[in-house]
């Protein structure tokens, strides 16, 4: 199943920064500017047809120069293949183009990555926190967020004031 990766390399050349297939999971690291184009190519090209966006995850690697990673898992119903696409973004400007225009599923998954890592998705229709509350400070899944830190939960205004 090197096919998808080969097709990507042929079409996008230097925009594909790295490919490997660790434990049978085909992976390509892509320049973040190209991500929408790459995923549209994977979805719409005959013979690839990755029509499912199964998962989208963020990840944090503080020791890297490009600290955050967004990992897309795509699945093709017709060829029964899977592929993993990654983009890396630096801490100073963690912005990735949104793929909500390609998959409806991306909406909440991107919100979750934003909520947990503070990765912003450019072009997302409704980018706000999803699992934590709006007043939450910081991004809980970043490695520098202490695991035992408890956020202050805001108390809502009472309905009847005495």
């Amino acid at each position: 199943m090197q096919l998808a990766l080969n097709r990507l390399k042929e079409t996008f050349g230097d925009s594909i920064l790295e490919t490997h297939s660790c434990l049978g999971n085909e992976t390509a690291v892509v320049e973040k500017e190209k991500i929408v184009e790459v995923i549209r190519f994977l979805r719409d090209t005959q013979g690839l047809e990755f029509n499912f966006m199964m998962d989208l995850a963020g990840a944090d690697y503080p020791e890297r120069s490009e600290r955050f990673e967004v990992i897309y898992h795509l699945y093709s119903l017709s060829t029964k293949k899977r592929v993993r696409i990654k983009v890396r973004v630096p801490e100073a400007n963690p912005v990735v183009p949104s793929i909500t225009s390609l998959y409806k599923a991306a909406n909440w998954f991107e919100r979750e990555a934003f909520d947990m890592y503070g990765i912003r998705f450019d072009g997302h229709p409704n980018l706000k926190r999803i699992l934590t509350f709006d007043e939450f400070e910081g991004y809980p899944l970043r490695k520098d967020y202490p695991v035992n830190k408890r956020p202050k939960i805001p108390t809502p205004d009472p309905l009847i004031k005495v």
């Binding site: 999971n25 029509n51 199964m54 998962d55 995850a57 119903l77 999803i130 967020y145 695991v147």
Partner: protein, 398 residues
């Protein structure tokens, strides 16, 4: 139903209504802000996160074995299936060979969990619509299955039955006869409830054509499991990518046609029947054998080895003190859980704790489509649709 016939419709203002989270039909943890025009839903904004327990963050500071109890709480209607999904993901990192009997037992508990999960889903969905009888019919055999789960691992809900590389212990001795009895009762309950529902005029009016979604939309939303198959899309991981011995079993993938609530319920009914078929075959085919791998990295040595040999005591010490250390790498592993594809994305840096765990809960993708499903429907239908999606907050919010 509509007011089109009346000469001049009254002007109405849209009303905002909070449905949930403390509402029995919203399963206690889901909240939807509805914009209503009379009783028709114009817009809906779901809010989730009321049951967020930081599963992924906690996992990063626990070792691989300590995470297994957390997975019970993901989909708490079928905890055994999450145990299997997680352990399979970790085992794939070596990759680790596990004994045949373990694989058969894991298939058995998966299928039984699927039956139990679907029973709750259908039972509560029909209660939400107003039919209480079916709930009792389905919960009696479920109770008996849970009795078996209790005999299996000592707990009814927080099972923690699998281990990395094997199982906690073997099945109770009278499993075969007991489960055959359970299956007989289950099939009878399915027959009774389908008899009550299938041609029930009220039930059909409440569910047929309600909350329908097209196959294209379902794929775009990332639907998996019964909700996807109700739209007629033939995707079941057990058939498409058979794991363990699923390719040795004789069974069919039930498909719906219209993708509405009615189809979702009856796809589940049919899946329960198929799971019963599979369970019977698994019980027949299951071989004897060990229930733990003998891989020295993960398996605790037998007690006589620990006390009788220096290698045994060292191995015991290393696993207990240093934990299980999968090789560095990353894996996306997926199993067919009751609601669809349950994926685990695990990044290991070679230490005893995972660097990153991401759960791909099937509900998350499905619940996302909920506003689309109920736009234009009546407020009572919102409740009927939600039940059929089988949204389990435990895995939705993690």
């Amino acid at each position: 139903m509509t007011t089109q016939d009346t000469a001049k419709p009254l002007d109405t203002e849209h009303m905002i209504v909070n449905l949930g989270p403390s509402h029995p039909a919203m399963h206690g943890t889901l909240r939807v802000v509805l914009e209503l025009d009379g009783e028709t839903i114009v817009n809906a904004i779901p809010e989730i996160g009321y049951l967020h327990r930081c599963f992924e963050k906690e996992s990063e500071v626990k070792n691989y074995t300590q995470i297994i109890p957390y997975t019970d709480r993901l989909n708490y209607l079928s905890p055994l299936m999450n145990n299997v999904g997680y352990c399979m993901a970790v085992e794939k990192m070596w990759p680790l060979e596990i004994p045949e009997r373990v694989q058969w037992i894991r298939m058995l508990i998966c299928e039984l969990s699927r039956i139990m999960d679907h029973m709750v889903c259908i039972g509560t969905n029909v209660v939400d619509i107003g039919g209480l009888t079916n709930f009792w019919y389905l919960f009696n055999p479920r109770e008996k299955l849970i009795d078996w789960v209790e005999a299996l691992c000592g707990a009814r809900l927080t099972t923690t039955y699998t281990r990395i590389g094997g199982l906690m212990k073997d099945m109770p001795p009278n499993t075969k006869s007991f489960l055959k009895e359970c299956l007989r009762e289950t099939l009878k309950a399915i027959k009774d409830t389908t008899g009550l529902l299938q041609k029930n005029r009220i039930f059909m009016d409440r569910t047929q054509g309600v909350g329908a979604i097209s196959a294209e939309d379902a794929i775009s939303y990332g639907f998996t499991g019964p909700c996807l198959r109700a739209c007629g899309v033939d995707y079941d991981i057990r058939k498409a990518h058979p794991y363990y011995f699923y390719n040795e079993l004789d069974w069919d993938v039930p498909l719906g046609r219209y993708g509405d609530s009615y189809d979702r319920i009856f796809v589940r009914f049919e899946e329960m029947i198929q799971s019963c078929r599979m369970t019977e075959q698994i019980l027949e085919k299951m071989p004897e054998g060990p229930i733990m791998t003998d891989h020295r990295d993960v398996a605790l040595p037998a007690k006589h080895e620990v006390y009788g040999s220096i290698e045994g005591i060292i191995q015991q010490f290393k696993i207990i003190m240093h934990g299980i250390k999968p090789p560095a790498g990353e894996i996306y592993s997926y199993t067919e859980a009751a609601n669809g594809e349950l994926g685990f994305y695990i990044v290991s840096d070679g230490s005893d704790k995972p660097y990153r765990i991401k759960v791909r809960p099937p509900c998350f993708a499905i619940y996302q489509a909920y506003p689309d499903l109920m736009k234009g429907e009546l407020i009572a239908d919102a409740v009927a649709i939600l039940g059929g999606l089988n949204v389990v907050a435990g895995e939705l919010d993690r």
